[in-house]
């Protein structure tokens, strides 16, 4: 069984999934690709929305999530964030 992901890793995985779909994705695709339960996915999406790393775009049928500049920044600087967090035991 794989190691349990921490919060930073889950956020990275979700944002990576969105980025891989040209920066826009439906919630069901996140659910399939991110390996999270529906409840956990909703929790993390809410968290990412409040932190403005993604934005919600309402469509006629359903909605999509789009990654923001802040989200891209997280992805590009993830190793730095992860390194700092692990070094100081903040995970």
């Amino acid at each position: 069984m794989g190691k349990k992901r921490n919060k930073l890793e889950i956020i990275y995985d979700i944002l990576s999934v969105i980025k891989s779909k040209n920066g826009k994705i439906k919630p069901t695709h996140i659910l399939y690709k991110s390996n999270l339960s529906h409840t956990m996915m909703e929790h993390y999406l809410g968290d990412l929305l409040s932190k403005e790393m993604i934005r919600e775009i309402k469509l006629k049928k359903g909605k999509t999530y789009e990654i923001t500049d802040k989200g891209f920044s997280y992805l590009s600087k993830y190793d730095l964030v992860k390194g700092f967090t692990e070094s100081f035991g903040l995970d």
């Binding site: 790393m53 920044s73 600087k77 964030v81 390194g83 700092f84 070094s87 035991g89």
Partner: protein
């Protein structure tokens, strides 16, 4: 107020220098932690930054007021100027104690991994009220500081056992030395040489923390 510390005269200049270094290192950690917070938006990073900012500010206060006290006491010729200098020293001592403890309380709170303002308020109230009411504030301050630093050391020990990350071992060592430093400062009322020894332990501690920070940032940039 009681003793905050007793130090040998020859060490005053070195002490002021060390306090400046401690302030600088903790400020660096605080700044980088804040930069990481800006990227991650994680509360832990914000609190870590805040904790180290507070500790840095405490050392800046200690540095500035020891410097001004040294200058004032050397230059003072009247009783009024000496009284003013002593008032500054007391003010500086209180500011140092408050901000140092605030920093340690915040860092300890992070390790508890509870999202509760009540918990933070409770810990802070117990500590600050106890010191406020104590006759020997200096001893109680160092005792509480030592307890909190020891708690942080134990946290890093447990984290190291769990994750086996060598950088966590560095932080463990840093907090062990900081604990020894606090204990030595507590003992300065018996012999002022403990002030020197305490500072040497603290130098080792903060150099280890600085090393950890540089190492984390270097590795973070390299992986790109």
């Amino acid at each position: 107020m009681g003793y905050l510390y007793s130090l040998p005269k020859w060490f005053i200049i070195y002490s002021i220098g060390f306090e400046f270094v401690f302030a600088f290192i903790t400020l660096l950690v605080a700044i980088y932690a804040y930069k990481i917070y800006r990227i991650s938006c994680q509360n832990e990073h914000k609190l870590f930054s805040l904790g180290f900012f507070s500790i840095s500010f405490s050392y800046i206060m200690w540095f500035l007021l020891n410097l001004s006290a040294l200058f004032e006491l050397n230059e003072s010729t009247s009783a009024l100027n000496i009284t003013n200098a002593i008032n500054y020293i007391n003010l500086g001592a209180y500011a140092y104690m408050i901000f140092f403890l605030v920093g340690l309380v915040i860092l300890t709170y992070i390790t508890l991994k509870v999202d509760s303002n009540k918990t933070l308020a409770l810990i802070s109230s117990i500590i600050f009220l106890s010191i406020f009411l104590a006759s020997n504030k200096g001893s109680l301050f160092y005792s509480f500081s030592a307890i909190l630093v020891l708690f942080l050391g134990i946290h890093y020990f447990m984290e190291y056992l769990d994750k086996r990350n060598p950088r966590l071992a560095v932080m463990l060592a840093a907090f062990i030395f900081l604990f020894l430093g606090m204990v030595d400062l507590l003992l300065t009322s018996f012999n002022s040489v403990y002030f020197v020894v305490g500072h040497l332990f603290m130098v080792i501690s903060f150099v280890l923390i600085l090393f950890n920070l540089m190492s984390a940032l270097k590795n973070g940039k390299k992986k790109k």
